[in-house]
């Protein structure tokens, strides 16, 4: 096995979790095969980040240049084409994140790299790398094979594994920026923070969470009644906030909030990985869903496989009796 190159992701001065997750995965794959794990970092004023990466890699290569102060897919692509050619890894890993999905497919096209997106696992089959990805929002898995020559490219899903304590002490090497000048056709302007709503669901102890299964706005009173019976705050999946049943700041998941309540009651939520990432840290999870194969059940402690419209009113009634 040759080199596994991992693109470190960072924003506003901090490494994103996916960086260390990918390095952890890369070390597992390389460990079986005697490959070298190399972290690649493009940034400005990122010495401290390079140090942190060294704990998880055999080598850290980093570009420290104001051109990379903020992420810009087109600038990254210009630099990465050069760096991938130069370091010629067997496998190149980019996070399947809002950065990675903005970058990896274009890089694959430009370099003619075999590319599999949203990879959740990298296995070895007959000594060959076998990326695994999913279809139908997690209901089916697929084994892939790369054809053609390395480097192979994957975008790797975030929050698929636990990151251990650092156990390596990789060398750190500062490299020249392959990009010398700024570009005009895509410019980063600024970050805009999310609007702050009336309730901060990240602080809630009890959350009633709703999804598309609730079907329409006019079913919301039924949900509100349950929530008020147990003094819970309301939150939901992206489908629920997109539909306007809840404010956007009540969305749980990768593009919303990460919550860690004592109790999370998921009603009519399928459990897409983007949603699970935001709530699987809840202490106790109840899922009410009529589809026995819904991925939400994989993280649930209590499961009711049934029609929410039959279950929820009775649940509210009984809870009022017991706690009221």
């Amino acid at each position: 096995m040759g080199t596994i190159l991992v693109l470190a992701e960072h924003r506003q001065g901090s490494l994103r979790d996916v960086s260390l997750e990918m390095l952890t995965k890369a070390s597992q794959v390389a460990g079986q095969n005697g490959g070298e794990v190399v972290a690649l970092l493009l940034g400005s004023g990122v010495d401290a980040l390079a140090d942190k990466l060294a704990g998880y890699s055999d080598k850290v290569l980093y570009v420290d240049n104001p051109l990379f102060a903020d992420y810009n897919a087109e600038k990254y692509q210009l630099a990465l084409v050069e760096l991938v050619k130069q370091y010629n890894p067997e496998l190149f890993m980019i996070g399947h994140t809002t950065q990675g999905v903005d970058l990896a497919p274009a890089l694959a096209v430009e370099m003619g790299m075999p590319f599999v997106s949203d990879v959740i696992e990298i296995e070895l089959a007959d000594g060959k790398l076998q990326p695994v990805r999913q279809y139908y929002q997690g209901k089916v898995n697929a084994n892939f094979a790369f054809k053609g020559e390395p480097p192979y490219l994957v975008s790797f899903r975030e929050a698929t594994l636990e990151v251990p304590e650092p156990s390596k002490q990789g060398s750190i090497e500062k490299i020249e920026s392959p990009l010398k000048e700024d570009i005009e056709y895509r410019r980063f302007i600024e970050y805009v923070e999310a609007e702050v709503g009336d309730v901060d669901i990240t602080q809630s102890e009890i959350l009633v969470a709703i999804g598309r299964g609730v079907r329409e706005d006019k079913n919301m009173p039924m949900i509100q009644e349950l929530a008020s019976a147990i003094k819970a705050d309301l939150c939901g999946s992206r489908a629920a906030t997109d539909a306007g049943w809840l404010e956007h700041d009540r969305q749980v998941g990768t593009s919303g909030k990460t919550v860690k309540p004592k109790l999370y009651i998921a009603i009519g939520i399928s459990g897409a990985f983007q949603h699970l990432a935001g709530m699987k840290g809840a202490k106790t999870i109840v899922a009410i869903n009529k589809d026995p194969d819904a991925p939400i059940f994989s993280v649930a402690d209590f499961a009711i496989i049934d029609d929410l419209f039959k279950v929820v009113p009775k649940l509210t009634e009984k809870l009022k009796e017991l706690v009221g």
């Binding site: 139908y136 209901k139 898995n141 895509r186 805009v192 593009s255 009529k290 589809d291 049934d306």
Partner: protein, 262 residues
């Protein structure tokens, strides 16, 4: 402003049982219900909103079987001007880079300012076609777009990042944007529009019409191969509560209260 919008017909599998078929390469889709991909529905709306604001033309592009015509006509009924549907059994739909090549061939050579795609197709979840399409066309792009402000020769977009943060980016036109759900409120097609849509142009093209060779986009020429599909084992430690719906509700209520969770 000439806008192309790429839409895909996808199955709704949120409540369906998914079974892998005998050859292990596909699923049995005979019982699925299909409709326009969620994000693409928002992309159509955004294209029409831009057209209503600055004028221009909206062309709908979709690759898939004839059953997709209903969805395509719906997009025309909402305000699309014409449509292209690409159908050819030689196309390898597993590889998003090859899908992008096909869509690019439908756009290339025509005057365009913007191409909008959804950020993700719900069935394959690749989140790759739009960005690959931009590269194939040789134009800049931005993925995960939640707000679009068109200006002279450029466009300002808000990209949705993790945790509710957004990033404002400016792109030179022409460009490709991948649209995130929730960017707008997709309209319903007006009755009059539905009638008018029947008269709008819907061209059906194959690889030859697009000037592509089988080797450009076939399974054999893809750099990746889908070896097999399988149903993942769902490891659940959940206690499944049994009974009639009302009983289940009562048992759960008891467990929550007596277990000290409430």
């Amino acid at each position: 402003m000439n806008i192309f919008v790429c839409i895909k017909r996808v199955p709704d599998t949120s409540e369906a049982e998914v079974k892998v078929d005998a050859n292990g390469k596909d699923v049995d889709s005979s019982k699925f219900s299909f409709d326009i991909n969620d994000a693409d529905n928002y992309a159509v709306e955004e294209a029409i909103l831009i057209k209503e604001k600055v004028g221009g033309n909206v062309k709908v592009v979709s690759m898939g079987p004839k059953d997709g015509d209903v969805m395509i006509r719906m997009a025309l009924a909402k305000g699309g001007d014409s449509a292209i549907r690409i159908e050819d059994p030689r196309i390898n739909t597993v590889d998003p880079l090859q899908v992008a090549k096909v869509l690019a061939a439908a756009v290339k050579g025509q005057d365009f300012d913007l191409v909008l795609t959804g950020c993700m197709a719900e069935d394959d979840g690749n989140m790759a076609v739009g960005v690959a399409l931009a590269e194939t066309l040789g134009v800049p792009h931005a993925a995960m777009v939640k707000k679009v402000e068109v200006d002279e020769g450029k466009v300002k977009v808000y990209r949705e990042l993790e945790g509710g943060l957004s990033e404002v980016v400016e792109l030179a036109l022409p460009a490709v944007l991948t649209i995130q759900t929730g960017i707008n409120e997709p309209r319903y097609a007006p009755i009059r529009g539905i009638r008018m849509a029947q008269k709008k142009e819907l061209k059906v093209l194959n690889l030859d019409d697009l000037g592509l060779a089988e080797d450009d986009v076939s399974e054999g020429s893809s750099l990746v191969e889908l070896k097999n599909l399988y149903i993942p084992e769902v490891v659940s430690h959940a206690e499944i509560i049994e009974g009639e719906p009302e009983e289940k509700a009562e048992i759960l209520a008891d467990k929550l209260v007596k277990g000290g969770l409430l």
